[in-house]
């Protein structure tokens, strides 16, 4: 992680904590704000990835994966935006599912890290497992038990935890191969 990455991660961590506080104070409005932020983030990532594909990655072996990644991000961004006007229960279900998927990616990533003999996998594992558990909690509270406020609180807690992991990663030691 470069110094610039560390600063960006720190800022993102603080923003996540701020969002979590907004969610706890005003669960209704806060949820829409979070969705709007997720939508903007996903759309911008999608557009940026597509531009990178058109400009550079289309000439690269395996560059199509960059195109698919860009399209998926863009799709998710647009889908998230369209959900802002939907009933709150669907918003919660969507956020819960998104959190579970993020957590699953973390779990698979951990498996891959262990398989490849990496030393530092515990932080990724903790990140993945917590996201899966909290995502399920959001879905159970919001979708099945019909307790949306509890679901929002669970999501806010997960955000705080995620922010702490992000900030902790800033201080994590990097390993790199020395090219001679």
């Amino acid at each position: 992680m470069t110094r610039f990455d560390r600063i960006v991660n720190c800022i993102f961590g603080i923003l996540q904590i701020a969002f979590a506080i907004v969610l706890m104070v005003s669960p209704g409005r806060g949820l829409i704000l979070v969705l709007a932020a997720i939508s903007i983030g996903l759309t911008l990532t999608g557009v940026q990835t597509l531009i990178y594909y058109l400009d550079m990655a289309r000439s690269m072996v395996g560059g199509k994966s960059v195109l698919y990644r860009g399209l998926i991000f863009l799709d998710l961004g647009i889908l998230t935006r369209s959900l802002i006007d939907d009933p709150r229960i669907y918003l919660i279900a969507y956020i819960g599912l998104l959190t579970v998927i993020t957590g699953m990616v973390g779990v698979f990533r951990t498996y891959d890290l262990i398989r490849r003999g990496a030393v530092h996998w515990r932080l990724t594992a903790a990140y993945g497992i917590t996201h899966v558990i909290m995502g399920i909690a959001v879905l159970v509270f919001g979708f099945f038990l019909r307790l949306p406020v509890m679901a929002v609180f669970a999501y806010a807690l997960m955000l705080i935890y995620s922010a702490c992991i992000r900030i902790a990663a800033v201080f994590k030691e990097n390993k790199m191969i020395y090219i001679q």
């Binding site: 992680m1 470069t2 110094r3 610039f4 990178y52 058109l54 400009d55 550079m56 990655a57 000439s59 690269m60 072996v61 395996g62 560059g63 960059v66 990644r69 490849r116 003999g117 990496a118 030393v119 990097n174 390993k175 790199m176 191969i177 020395y178 090219i179 001679q180």
Partner: protein, 387 residues
């Protein structure tokens, strides 16, 4: 390449080329020192930090991959370790300008820039010759990779096979890469360490041959893989053959540098000069092990009649630190620094002239009001003009 080739083999090449043992030692020391001269080291001895010829692990970890940071990284790695093969190459089919600029930084052998590198070292003593030999040798080991962080150029995929001998027959094994820097490479099992896949173009993980691990640095390695820049073209790399070319070309280049009327040309390899030791050298290249220093050391004794002392990074440090400011440039380290600055400036200038800003602005641009590498002004141009 590693210390075995840059230090011990370069010493042998210099002796065969006709240099005295003393000068050969200096050439070999400077060739190896290119892999040690970091910003941190220069800062410690009070030298100009822009003369850095490599980066420490820590420096790379902390490297800023903004535009200016990337330019600094590219200046170092393209100038000394991944000399671009063709700065005016046309690229594979239709591609964007940004892709083309990175594509043109792909390192290859026998380039015009190599001629400029060797000619730049002419009449500048063993220090400049040592730097040129490092650059020349690395063009053979690092060909097909670029000295700038780039996913679209330097990435390698799962299609990576090593060709090795098992008994009397040749077999192919899929190379297994892991990302744990603590584990040692296992040539017997084709297990190597490489950098982790990072989907971002500018990640330091995508610098040079990081994605192929140390494989290009091992003289025994024969492998085939699919580079990300080649439009699904397969590359077969035969290191024993390439390293032999590198050794013979070094002898030819060093001989040409000794000749006052000489001129280095590409495509010449002095095979005749190595004839008495050809089989021994071939065997050194073929043995599957991570470092061949001991064998090269023995060969050095056989060729020169003298044992080359082990590489000592601090050998010339005291002389430089204790010299006063005016006479520093006349020390071994001082001449090394000046030669390194000249090489970096020359390569940056050539990259800039090809229309690319990936290595930044050359030092000459101060006359046009642009500011770039301040140390260049103080050390290279100002001192040069004083002289």
């Amino acid at each position: 390449m590693q210390i075995d080739f840059h230090y011990y083999a370069t010493y042998c090449a210099a002796v065969i080329a006709g240099y005295s043992c003393r000068d050969s030692e200096k050439i070999a020391w400077c060739a190896q020192f290119v892999d040690r001269c970091t910003k941190t080291f220069l800062d410690r001895i009070g030298g100009p930090v822009s003369a850095a010829t490599t980066q420490l692990q820590l420096e790379m970890m902390e490297a800023d991959t903004s535009l200016l940071g990337l330019q600094e990284i590219t200046r170092i790695w393209a100038s000394f370790h991944f000399l671009p093969g063709d700065l005016y190459a046309q690229g594979p089919g239709k591609c964007s300008r940004r892709f083309l600029h990175k594509y043109r930084l792909i390192c290859n052998t026998d380039s015009e820039l190599l001629v400029d590198t060797v000619e730049l070292a002419r009449a500048k003593g063993p220090e400049a010759a040592g730097i040129a030999m490092h650059v020349l040798a690395d063009t053979w080991a690092h060909r097909y990779f670029a000295g700038t962080p780039s996913l679209v150029i330097n990435n390698t995929g799962y299609y990576f096979y090593e060709i090795m001998r098992e008994g009397d027959r040749e077999v192919e094994k899929a190379v297994k890469f892991n990302h744990n820097p603590v584990t040692k490479d296992r040539p017997d099992r084709a297990v190597y360490t490489n950098t982790m896949y990072q989907g971002t173009e500018r990640s330091m993980m995508n610098l040079g041959h990081g994605r192929a691990g140390h494989l290009p640095d091992y003289s025994y390695a024969r492998y085939r893989y699919m580079p990300s820049w080649g439009g699904y073209m397969e590359i077969m790399k035969d290191n024993p053959l390439d390293y032999m070319h590198a050794f013979c070309q070094m002898i030819y280049a060093l001989k040409s540098l000794r000749d006052p009327d000489g001129r280095f040309e590409t495509g010449h390899y002095d095979r005749e000069a190595i004839r008495p030791w050809e089989e021994t050298i071939r065997q050194i290249f073929e043995v599957r092990r991570l470092l061949d220093s001991e064998d090269w050391k023995k060969l050095g004794v056989e060729i020169s009649g003298r044992a080359l002392e082990d590489f000592d990074e601090e050998k010339y440090e005291k002389e430089y630190v204790e010299a006063d400011q005016d006479s520093r440039d006349d020390t071994v380290l001082g001449r090394f620094i000046m030669a390194a600055l000249a090489q970096k400036s020359m390569v940056t200038s050539r990259i800039f002239s090809s229309g690319s800003l990936l290595a930044g602005y050359p030092a000459d641009y101060r006359f046009n009001g642009l500011k770039d590498i301040r140390d260049f002004f103080k050390n290279l141009i100002d001192k040069g003009s004083k002289k």
